[in-house]
Symmetry: C2
Subunit: 392 residues, 2 copies
């Protein structure tokens, strides 16, 4: 069964015509990411009430997912993660309506499963045999898992100093791992140089147009789980920024469908590490694009992204939403992990801990008030980061 | 809202009268586990069709869960885990209908979350303030998480040589950890000796009657996910055996409710490690109870259980179902982890790998046929066991 998926379009948009999703597509000719577009007029016949009783995964929104013809998702049950009422943590912070979106309950222990389920689905449909990805860690694990499930070969490129569990987990799924001197940006360059002559399918985020379609389902889920009334604030740790951009896209789509109030949007808060904060610097400087961060360093592997191709889209979402951009130190994000664990029993990655600390600063500055409805994203679990707890 | 929960009853049964669930209960006076009983006649008015659209957690079966009055579950979204069609692994094994029940997508990365969500719910209702548990690893993590969520204190007792991630995860949730010389049975003794004079609430499995009620939901879920036709085989790694006993109980309850064929039951396969196989030895010897295993050793922490208080209930389920009892070496279970990873992209603990290898032996011996419908339980993820992959 086909969905309402129709074509790909430049994200700027630069004015180029639609791109054809029946062939392999990466960036627009202008160099910007392509975004999937749907026939939203036709989709208005699809009601949110029809979701009741559907599969407990992100594919419950399949009508607005990039599937053509009889395309079947490559799925391991990703998405439809719990929105945990954080009552005790909220009380400690003076908030009455705080929620944790616990993305650690995804396959491969992080939110990256969503994007890679969607992207590997499309790669499989388009006839790819060998998939490659540059990654700070979790995206490589997710890609390796979905490639294995679909019977495709996986080539993962990541920084040499990545934490060991990320390497082991890739190996568990039979992926070929290349450790690269440098960061995810260097891994991306080497993956592209190696794979291009061999015809590998490159799954770099936003260079590939479907990972964002998986990530956008976080926005659909928050809406559905809060009975279609979006929260006042979404606090989101931002590396490549695909989730942020994806959720913003989801809100636009849901508005067009008539599922949510067309005006009221959450304030979007982008959270980075003080040791790697290119988006925040650009936000503070009023820049439209971010300049690459030099000597990026943080314990949160997922935030060690010195340059993101979708930076201008993240900045656009934060500004349009009247949101905020907050940098968090490694020490504060580890304390955040511990607080999420101790108060709520939720296993949080440093990225989740960073989001909690960012919320603290917004409360202190008075921007977030006691009655505000706030959703913190815990983008992954603590298990791959246990070394940061050593000796505490 | 109350459920159909009515009372507790001896599992033997020894003839003692019903025990009152409004007070703290542990073992029956005869020393056997107590089981929760429901008013199943009244419950027949509750139809399986009413489940559609319910919460994507084990609490979708709340009418048959041990809740009294306005008791609210202590929940982090446990259960309703994916039943992954293992198409590629099935093809490699010559099976056309193989499924993996992926329990790694639970909070704290294992099936233990189910039992502890139910047990901590009841402990909280009954006014406990300090909870204690002896554990081989995962149950302690789960208890620590639910205790934190409910604002209760957690005391975890585990073997000194347990893998480090199990200790770190307890600490993440603020639990107090005591490392014990010996095994889970020694931990149980020390926890009881320490806690009894202090009034701690002991959450030892089957000494406490509610963990099994969480575990039984695995049986409900397999039935619902297979459209109420149970599989031919359930392959289940067995430490304390609570899941095995719980599923068997679920099948009885569902029969009484008219939800499943009252006659057709899956053959239940109990899987242990060659280095710790008390149940299998008892099964092979035709014994009703198992004698404790000496010098237990295996890489699968969850199978390092030399003596289980519910042994006779496990043996009963295996025999009544015309099932099997299979021991697996550490080497074969690690290979099983790798096969589950490589063929399906699922993160498996050694326990899950053991279940896969047990299935192989049943295929080789001709007991499992190519058209049989088989469900393998992957009771947890690989992330806490990554050391077993070092140097492979």
């Amino acid at each position: 069964m086909s969905t309402y998926f129709s074509h790909l379009e430049c994200s700027v948009p630069c004015g180029a015509g639609p791109a054809n999703p029946r062939t392999v597509q990466h960036l627009c000719a202008c160099g910007a990411p392509l975004l999937a577009r749907y026939d939203l007029d036709a989709a208005r016949g699809w009601t949110r009430e029809s979701l009741a009783g559907r599969t407990a995964s992100m594919w419950r929104y399949r009508e607005l997912m990039p599937l053509l013809d009889d395309e079947t998702p490559v799925t391991l049950g990703e998405g439809w993660t719990p929105l945990v009422p954080a009552t005790r943590l909220g009380a400690a912070l003076g908030l009455s309506r705080l929620y944790l979106k616990d993305e650690s309950l995804n396959p491969t222990n992080s939110f990256k499963a969503r994007g890679l389920s969607a992207a590997v689905t499309r790669a499989h449909y388009l006839g790819a045999r060998v998939l490659s990805i540059p990654t700070a860690g979790n995206a490589g694990n997710a890609m390796a898992a979905y490639a294995a499930h679909a019977g495709l070969e996986a080539r993962v490129f990541m920084p040499r100093d990545v934490k060991t569990p990320f390497v082991r987990e890739c190996e568990l799924y039979g992926a070929d791992v290349t450790l690269v001197d440098g960061l995810i940006t260097d891994a991306g360059r080497i993956a592209a140089e190696t794979g291009a002559p061999l015809g590998w399918y490159d799954l770099s985020t936003l260079k590939e147009p479907y990972r964002i379609e998986g990530k956008k389902t976080m926005g659909y889920e928050v809406a559905e789980q809060l009975d279609w009334e979006l929260p006042d604030w979404i606090i989101y740790p931002t590396g490549g920024g695909t989730g942020m951009v994806g959720m913003w896209k989801a809100f636009e789509e849901m508005s067009a469908l008539g599922w949510i109030d067309p005006v009221k949007r959450p304030r979007m808060v982008t959270v980075q590490a003080t040791g790697c904060a290119p988006i925040i610097r650009a936000f503070d400087n009023g820049d439209e694009r971010a300049t690459p961060w030099e000597h990026a360093q943080t314990v949160a592997d997922g935030l060690r992204v010195p340059r993101a191709i979708g930076d201008f889209l993240v900045l656009r979402a934060v500004r349009e939403s009247d949101g905020a951009a907050v940098a968090v130190s490694d020490e504060d994000m580890v304390q955040g992990m511990l607080d999420i664990g101790k108060f709520e029993g939720v296993s949080a990655a440093p990225e989740g801990g960073a989001a909690l600390h960012a919320l603290r600063t917004l409360i202190t500055s008075g921007r977030v008030g006691p009655e505000d409805r706030v959703v913190i994203f815990n983008t992954g679990g603590a298990l791959k980061y246990l070394d940061v707890l050593e000796g505490l």
